[in-house]
């Protein structure tokens, strides 16, 4: 797929913001660098993608978030990291850069109380702060404050070699390490105008589906655990562990970290790899239906998940919510299908979509996606092309700056990668946008009017990444 690329003036930038506001475009990302602001957008109707850049005179540019709220936090982040001032931005509080007291948005009314949670949580989860304003048990407003996991990934990438940047990309969000590595690798390959080795393209897809499978299995169990049905947690956790062990046996790392690299993949399947993966598919196919049956027929569980944490289709559309969050609220989008990339163009698979938008809908989308991933792995195994698993990049011979961009479907949703490679084959600037950027604000909307005790359920059903967002 070809991305259109343009350097625009302020008028064209503002026109794009207006089209975002009107819903003709979806926002895929907005990021900065010294003196420039960039924006990736997609046509809502045709899924055609483009990247716009605007030179920021005096480090200022017209705010997109002023018209289109999904851009708000991205603009606040670009302001913190590159000092770019969005003109007209309503929310001027820092986002990734923490200093001093953070003023939360006010919620006023009779007998409201606040519940501060985090950044160190009660469970084994990532750091973030949630400020609930509640009226009795009912959540009136939730506001998240993120940035605690901000590691300066983009700054570390600037000037790094392609190999070093690949290591950083693999650690943007550990649960999506394959998807991030794939997005980065595809962007680098686009910049260098080369195709990854054909066999590697298929092995990458195998890894991506294993990653999706592992995460969905783990999270389906975890959602049930948050509703106190621990047998689902135990059973799903056991299946997840089997997926990770198969990944270890086939690709040498349980999470498949650093296995996808620009040009191809690091290691080939071992001699018994196809047999191991077939056995894994057979095992999950045998065990999973019983678990789905338990999920579907346990009234006390359904009582917690049905009608809880409803995300409206209108909001999902406005924020271009990716993954199961969007697809459970009627947004029929999957980057594997459109814009699409190899080898999915040659594989039959369904993209489940429902309209209900509650916790139950998000769980069902993930159940259906488990089945789809199993079918994809099974379909891929017999048709893996032979040949080398890596092609040389010859990045050192790069003279002028070259840009590449890619959109990849991780388990959580679409991941955008944009890279500019400079002379000598070093990364000048790389931006990786996690799906969570557009999902975190929706969690705040979905929890409104629910009881505080249902927050863990809602949160787990979204399962946004803190690290992927904080960079």
């Amino acid at each position: 797929m070809n991305w259109s690329r343009s350097i625009v003036d302020r008028e064209a930038w503002q026109a794009a913001a207006a089209r975002l506001h009107a819903g003709e475009l979806c926002l895929l990302g907005l990021w900065g660098e010294p003196g420039f602001v960039h924006m990736a957008v997609m046509q809502s109707a045709s899924n055609e993608c483009s990247v716009l850049s605007l030179a920021c005179e005096g480090n200022r540019y017209p705010s997109v978030g002023r018209l289109h709220p999904p851009a708000l936090r991205l603009e606040r982040a670009a302001r913190d990291l590159y000092g770019l001032e969005p003109e007209g931005l309503a929310d001027t509080r820092p986002w990734l850069r923490h200093s001093g007291v953070y003023p939360f948005l006010p919620a006023e009314g009779e007998s409201l109380h606040q519940i501060p949670v985090g950044p160190v949580h009660a469970g084994i989860i990532e750091p973030g702060h949630f400020r609930f304003t509640a009226s009795g048990e009912t959540v009136v407003r939730l506001e998240a404050r993120l940035g605690y996991a901000h590691k300066g990934v983009e700054a570390l990438m600037a000037g790094a070699s392609l190999e070093r940047a690949a290591q950083l990309a693999a650690r943007v969000s550990g649960d999506s390490t394959v998807a991030f590595s794939l997005a980065y690798a595809r962007a680098v390959e686009a910049a260098l105008a080369l195709e990854a080795a054909p066999r590697a393209v298929w092995l990458r897809a195998l890894m991506a589906e294993l990653e999706r499978l592992a995460n969905h299995l783990g999270d389906i169990g975890a959602v049930c655990n948050d509703a106190a049905l621990s047998i689902m947690h135990a059973q799903c956790g056991q299946l997840r562990e089997q997926v990770l062990r198969a990944a270890q046996a086939c690709f040498g790392h349980r999470l498949m970290m650093d296995c996808v690299i620009p040009g191809g993949v690091l290691r080939d399947l071992p001699a018994d790899g196809e047999r191991l993966l077939s056995a894994l598919v057979a095992l999950v196919r045998k065990e999973f239906p019983d678990l789905v049956e338990v999920y579907d027929n346990t009234a006390s569980l359904k009582d917690r998940t049905v009608d809880t944490g409803i995300l409206s289709p209108a909001l999902a559309r406005q924020f271009a919510a990716g993954g199961y969050v969007g697809r459970a609220s009627g947004r029929n989008f999957d980057a594997r299908r459109a814009p699409g990339y190899a080898p999915y163009d040659r594989l039959p698979f369904e993209v489940p979509v429902v309209q209900a938008g509650d916790v139950n809908a998000r769980v069902w989308i993930r159940i259906r996606e488990v089945e789809q991933s199993l079918a994809l792995i099974q379909a891929m195994l017999p048709q893996l092309p032979a040949g080398p698993i890596h092609v040389a990049l010859a990045a050192q011979s790069v003279t002028g700056a070259r840009e590449g961009v890619a959109l990849v479907e991780g388990f959580r949703g679409d991941i955008l990668a944009w890279v500019r490679i400079g002379a000598g084959g070093r990364v000048e600037r790389c931006h990786l946008r996690d799906p969570s950027w557009f999902q975190w604000p929706l969690l705040e909307a979905a929890i409104e009017g629910n009881i505080v005790a249902d927050f863990p359920l809602c949160n787990k059903s979204f399962n946004c990444s803190y690290s992927g967002h904080d960079l």
């Binding site: 469970g123 084994i124 989860i125 996991a149 590691k151 550990g174 047998i231 059973q235 056991q238 049956e293």
Partner: protein, 174 residues
């Protein structure tokens, strides 16, 4: 549900045999843990996990310790919800500037005697994030005293288990 319960009743437990404690970890701990503390704790440790800016890879594997195959709790090791209930802080991540104060305050909230286990390559020295302007220099030990490092990126559940068992040996041998 009944079918699932019956199936699991018939097939027996999935939990696997325990690994031997890690020798390197025992050596690192030998000089750290004093006799008095060992006697006080017996053979059980309460662990509070603190993510100080990890990529969440370590969290996934720490989570896996609780699954039926590793079943951490059979060793007397359990995760608790508050540092005030904890004997051990299990810290992951390179310690971002934004998490530094939270880590310090969590450490201060943990009653003595207490131990800190730094998990993963970036907790040791920043790992791939070493040199970032957004992280402290020197990993977890630059902020709170560390008793044991468990290496790996991320360490597998088995490696985590070996390290934690070494800690248990270290604090309970009298």
């Amino acid at each position: 549900m009944r079918r699932l319960l019956f199936k699991n009743f018939v097939r027996g437990p999935l939990t696997e045999a325990a690994p031997a404690p890690d020798d390197a970890a025992i050596a690192e701990l030998a000089s750290r843990v004093n006799q008095a503390a060992r006697r006080r704790l017996g053979r059980t440790l309460a662990i509070r996990e603190v993510d100080a800016g990890s990529c969440n890879g370590c969290e996934l594997e720490i989570h896996a310790l609780g699954n039926v195959l590793y079943d951490l709790e059979r060793f007397g090791l359990r995760f608790v919800a508050s540092p005030r209930h904890a004997d051990v802080l299990l810290v992951t991540g390179p310690v971002t500037h934004n998490m530094r104060e939270a880590l310090e305050r969590t450490y201060q909230a943990t009653p003595d005697p207490k131990w800190v286990v730094a998990v993963g390559a970036c907790a040791r020295d920043g790992g791939v994030f070493a040199g970032s302007a957004a992280c402290v220099v020197g990993g977890v030990s630059a902020v709170v005293p560390v008793d044991l490092h468990i290496p790996g990126c991320p360490p597998s559940p088995l490696e985590l288990l070996k390290g934690l068992l070494a800690l248990l040996e270290g604090v309970s041998v009298t």
